[in-house]
Amino acid sequence: MSLITKIENRMPGCYVVKFIGRLDGTTYADSETEIASALIPETKTLVFDMTNLDYISSMGLRVILKARKFIEGNGGDVHTINMQPQIEKVFKIANLLQGMTLFASIKEADDYFDAMQKKVLDPLE
């Protein structure tokens, strides 16, 4: 039982957190430490890529909740990519789907961020 947490800085102020494995009582602490590097006031968009997240427990939900609290507290948004049905069920029970954009695929998220980046750059042209 393990979890790999990968963090990627997609563009200034936008981080993608990729989970591979199980986010539970045995893995949440390491994951929390990894994510802390993205939890800075400049981060306005945090995306959780859940394509390869097999299981999430209540302690795992706590990790997501803490990150959301920080980002939304700083005026940012939290999104998820490719949430598996069993994970989505858990989020539904915890009432945590409200206020999060759910992308069905990485491509859908990329299109969204490209459009967002264009919107930011357009006024400069």
Partner: protein, 568 residues
């Protein structure tokens, strides 16, 4: 009503439009008539006359119509109610030839009546033998049904002759037929997929005429008997011989097992969430099968059985409605009055038959594999599945050696399907020895115990042959439970986990001494969760409930007890 899988256009209880039903029924009837080649092989081996051959063809059509009607109707405990077309089965061919050589075709038909009666009796006991047919054993049987079709299919596909030379014309015909059937099953939009086999067969006939695989002059014989005629069946001279009883009863057993595997495949292709065989329905199907076999002997043809090729066809085309089967029986009956159709189809070119068999075998093999991998496999089950398939493949490979065996043994060992299925049943029973259906684990109240609990259920699940999906839910529920107990410091000492499995249920009990589990019934609002992220732990009870089918929290004998029940 069971939910039908996404690839099925017309499920078993659906009522397709009449024109669609009729075209699909014609497609099934055409395929059934192709297999009249088997009883004709008996006539040829027994040195029968043209009159004998015509009688056998008529008897075969009537039996296929009657048995298919009985099987598909599925009323009053007789027949499975699935689209399971009955045909004159090659399983009966070796013993029938043996009997015909010993005492003429009358002896073969007389013994077939007894074999059918045996199948009828066997069907009444089948529901009590449920434990013999877990999903992985059924999977082995279905895989072997497909594999055993491969040899005859490839021989016909390549047009192989005695000196193993490939006939390029036969190969071209087979390639055109198969390519068309496969392409029409995959790419076209709309309902053309339903008629892929019919279109492929027509193209195959056309290509055979064009390339000279069939002689156009020979087709004139087709109309010799006129376009309409009353079916006449000369009554066979039934005979009985004690020495042939064992081989015929063994053959009946093999045919019944074949029917069991076919009907389980029917169940599986009709139910998106198939879990285990419905043995009451299967035994009704075997009963109809036995009656069909007895009727075959009575009318004078080889024993009837469920055709796996037709089941594969219904799966491939996505049309499994029982109405198609009932209309197939009527179409078959009608052909008994139109001799040219039956004669034309019973002379179907070998490469076209080869293409159809390859098409059907592909579906059966993958369907069987799906049945096998739905269950968790430990070393015992790996040997049961792998070993049985190896035994079946050996039966295909060692034909010369097997031919030297006594007839009664040859009827089993000579059939790769039969020998692999019986081996799977025997190994499954043997390997059950020493596998307890109960298990327990004691863990310390530390987070590291979560991994230990998951490993425990992985190994027990594999030993029990449990469904992977159910074990994953058990692991999720127990992980969530232990995590909360440990994280919130609820347990004073070790935590006991007890599990009990049978084919229908999996019960897990977690026991510990200490503070009761916080089972909050009301849902927290997002605001409450945002105010205190630790509050998320109080959701644990709700999360456990979504994994288990029933959860009970109580505290007998001063220990906290959480009972989790899972349907299997």
């Amino acid at each position: 009503m069971e939910q039908k899988p996404a690839n099925i256009i017309y499920g078993v209880d659906d009522i397709p439009p009449f024109r669609t039903t009729l075209l699909l029924a014609v497609q099934h009837a055409v395929l059934a008539l192709v297999f009249i080649v088997y009883p004709l092989m008996l006539v040829s081996e027994a040195g029968g006359t043209q009159v004998d051959a015509e009688g056998v063809v008529t008897a075969s059509i009537l039996v296929m119509a009657f048995a298919t009607f009985l099987q598909c109707l599925g009323r009053k405990g007789m027949g499975s109610g699935y689209l399971a077309v009955q045909f004159t089965s090659p399983i009966y061919l070796p013993v029938s030839i043996q009997a015909a050589k010993m005492g003429g075709m009358g002896l073969a038909f007389g013994m077939t009546v007894f074999a059918g009666i045996f199948s009828v009796i066997f069907s009444r006991f089948l529901k009590y033998l449920r434990h013999l047919f877990p999903a992985e054993v059924c999977g082995v049987a279905v895989v072997m049904l497909g594999i055993s079709m491969a040899g005859p299919a490839v021989t016909r596909f390549l047009g192989l002759h005695g000196n193993n030379s490939v006939d390029p014309h036969a190969l071209a015909v087979a390639f055109i037929t198969l390519s068309l059937m496969v392409a029409l099953s995959i790419w076209p939009r709309g309902h053309i997929r339903l008629y892929s086999v019919l279109i492929g067969l027509t193209a195959g006939y056309g290509a055979s005429l064009w390339l000279g695989v069939i002689d156009p002059a020979g087709l004139h014989a087709v109309t010799e008997k006129g376009f309409l005629a009353l079916p006449t069946v000369p009554l066979p001279d039934w005979q009985f011989q004690w020495t042939l009883l064992t081989p015929f009863l063994m053959t009946a057993l093999v045919s019944s097992l074949d029917t069991v595997a076919c009907l389980i495949t029917c169940e599986k292709i009709n139910q998106a969430e198939w879990t285990r065989p419905d043995m009451a329905r299967v035994s009704s199907g075997v009963l109809a099968d036995g009656i069909g076999a007895a009727a075959s002997g009575a009318l004078g043809t080889i024993g009837a059985g469920v055709s796996s090729a037709h089941i594969a066809l219904s799966s491939a085309t996505g049309a499994t409605a029982r109405r198609i089967g009932i209309l197939t029986a009527i179409v078959l009956l009608a052909t008994a009055f139109i001799p040219p159709i039956a004669i034309l189809l019973s002379r179907m070119p070998a490469p076209v038959i080869g293409a159809v068999l390859i098409y059907a075998a592909a579906f059966l093999i993958t369907s069987g594999m799906e049945l096998i991998v739905a269950r968790m496999l430990d070393t015992r089950r790996i040997f049961m599945v792998g070993g049985s398939i190896i035994v079946g493949l050996a039966a295909i490979q060692l034909t010369e050696l097997i031919r030297q065996l006594p007839v009664w043994l040859y009827s089993i060992v000579g059939s790769p399907f039969a020998v692999a299925s019986l081996c799977a049943i025997a190994l499954n029973l043997l390997f059950r020895i020493g596998t307890s259906q109960s298990a327990s684990l004691r863990v310390e109240p530390q987070l590291a115990s979560l991994s230990e609990a998951v490993r425990f259920f992985e190994s027990r699940g594999a030993a029990w042959g449990a469904r992977r999906q159910v074990i994953q839910r058990v692991e999720a529920a127990v992980s969530e439970l232990l995590e909360t107990v440990i994280q919130m410091g609820l347990a004073d000492g070790d935590i006991d986990i007890r599990a009990r499995f049978d084919e229908y249920h999996l019960d897990v009990v977690v026991l510990y001494s200490g503070v009761p589990f916080p089972d909050a019934q009301e849902c927290l609002s997002p605001e409450q969760l945002f105010a205190d992220e630790n509050a998320v732990l109080s959701l644990s009870g709700s999360l456990i409930r979504q994994y288990a089918d029933r959860v009970v929290f109580d505290a007998p004998k001063e220990r906290q007890r959480i009972s989790l029940h899972f349907e299997h």
